[in-house]
Symmetry: C2
Subunit: 331 residues, 2 copies
């Protein structure tokens, strides 16, 4: 094997993620041990959660990446050399391989990729985004046909799938996104019942107009100005699923949340969740998502960066909201 490149975390970000947090290093492949296999990664995923993995905050749900270590990421690749019976040479695999062109694995947390699915569909839909959407929607919010769901970050990888699955189950679905173009995509391409740009000055009026029967489920991916507006429109016995707060990930001073009086008056339930708590259900969740995908119910778009080095600046597209679809890196 020839040498390969990997990106290491060398500094923790304070607010925004600066390029100096990373270092691109050249590596020489080491020899495989019995029970190991070597993966040549073809695509890796860039996700908002990475901001948390980079910081030393010990409250985060999985340990931070150690300084000096290869930065964490999920990806998809091909087994190019194997001393493991379950992952033979030529197999297509997905797993947490990191920001690297090559990785050695013993198979822990690695899954074979179902046949016939392009790498982009696997990373954009089937993997973390789809499982997260399915667990949050069905496992926590428990939607009923005819209810109204509002999802923030609706054009994002998780939000777009939450909305489409809810539509498939007969809910009224309103999306919140950060540009008029994204809003048009949600309504015209994904079939959402409505969409609002959270930068609008008439945000409260628009949400109220689009949810004439109130909101039964608020699927929170962003925080920011939509949070209070959504909260104000919740119905009695409404459910709030808190999956992401991307608007606050880079902020020094966290924004205030809504007053709790409505929680009593409307008997709201608010539940935070992260996918790693539910990895034991991954096989069932993936099957559930694959069924929607195969039935043509899940559209997606990808924003592909070219080459490992492009990830270093590219990750910030997630926080400026400039990515047009699931952010991936082609290696």
């Amino acid at each position: 094997m020839s040498s390969y490149q990997a990106v290491h975390l060398v500094k923790r970000p304070v607010n925004v993620i600066e390029a100096s947090c990373f270092e691109l290093r050249e590596h020489s492949p080491t020899e495989l041990q019995e029970g190991q296999f070597r993966v040549k990664q073809t695509h890796m995923s860039l996700d908002p959660a990475m901001r948390g993995w980079m910081s030393a905050d010990t409250n985060s749900y999985i340990p931070p990446v150690e300084l000096g270590a290869v930065m964490r990421a999920s990806g998809i690749g091909e087994v190019v050399e194997s001393r493991h019976p379950d992952f033979p040479q030529g197999a297509r695999v997905m797993g947490m391989f990191g920001w690297t062109e090559q990785a050695i694995s013993n198979g822990a947390g690695v899954n074979l990729v179902p046949e016939g699915l392009p790498a982009e569909a696997v990373l954009a839909v089937l993997a973390l985004p789809g499982m997260t959407a399915a667990q949050g929607l069905f496992g926590i919010a428990k939607p009923k046909a005819g209810e109204t769901l509002l999802v923030s970050g609706a054009a994002g990888s998780v939000g777009s799938l939450v909305g489409q699955m809810a539509k498939a189950e007969g809910l009224r679905v309103i999306g919140v996104a950060g540009s008029d173009e994204k809003c048009r995509w949600l309504v015209e391409q994904l079939g959402f019942d409505g969409a609002v740009n959270y930068k609008s000055e008439q945000l409260a009026e628009q949400v109220a107009e689009l949810t004439p029967n109130g909101i039964d489920i608020y699927f929170e991916n962003t925080g920011g100005p939509i949070q209070q507006v959504a909260f104000d429109n919740m119905n009695t016995f409404g459910r709030v699923v808190v999956c992401g707060m991307i608007a606050d990930y880079n902020s020094e001073q966290p924004s205030a949340g809504p007053n709790w009086m409505q929680i009593i008056k409307k008997r709201l339930s608010i539940q935070g969740f992260t996918m790693p708590d539910h990895f034991d259900k991954a096989p069932q969740l993936m099957q559930q998502v694959a069924a929607y995908l195969q039935a043509g119910k899940l559209q997606y778009r990808v924003h592909v960066l070219d080459g490992l080095a492009a990830a270093i600046d590219g990750i910030n597209l997630l926080f400026s909201g400039e990515n047009q679809g699931k952010l991936l890196v082609k290696l």
Copy 2:
């Protein structure tokens, strides 16, 4: 029957409850119909929820009291005349009789009082406070022995029972109250493991010190400064029961809530509840509370006002925190 007095709601409060919201009126008893009985009320309960019942806010969980109507309250009394087979003359009954010396009832929502319990114990423990405490603690928070519970409004009617039931179940219990005297009562008389005065300038430090293993259950009765401090000390998979927000009931501008990032990082669940949703479980809940009471596990204190008219100014003791125990009116 001789004439009797009742207090009517004649104006809705804006912020604090002014005496001009009420009017004391003289009534002549009307004749009983078949299936009715007449109650001479001996004690009635004053509760924080009354502030909500007085306002026209349609989001409240039970309809507001109509202007001109007798103000709502739960109470205990004796049947003095009856044309109802289940509630004979001489029976002791509890129900929502209102701010009145006499009431006519058809039995809906009225229960016979278990024998041998003083009226004060019934209103301070067995009735709304005890059922609310039991439902919130066992039905929602689902405590486990060894966990830590922080309860705000701990010297209040619900909070003091929540803490004592949790102690009986083997939890570490920390109370939050509004005076050093109340804090001493919680620790010395009720056996709480610790108590903090929310007016303390070292509130955050004191809570952190008293909850070395973090907080698993936060039982929220008040809002105010303790809310953020409690939130900051929650453990992963912690449960927050939102039962009351008394600090905000009279405020024009609701205070901000905590930022939601911790909800994800710690996978918190926050659940609002009000007892009227659970009245179908009232018999079981009352039995559960009575068992603690009979086992000597529930101490209580009452602050008794004398005569119906005293309720008009007396209700504000609840919002200034000056009441020393469950606020009752002896009629």
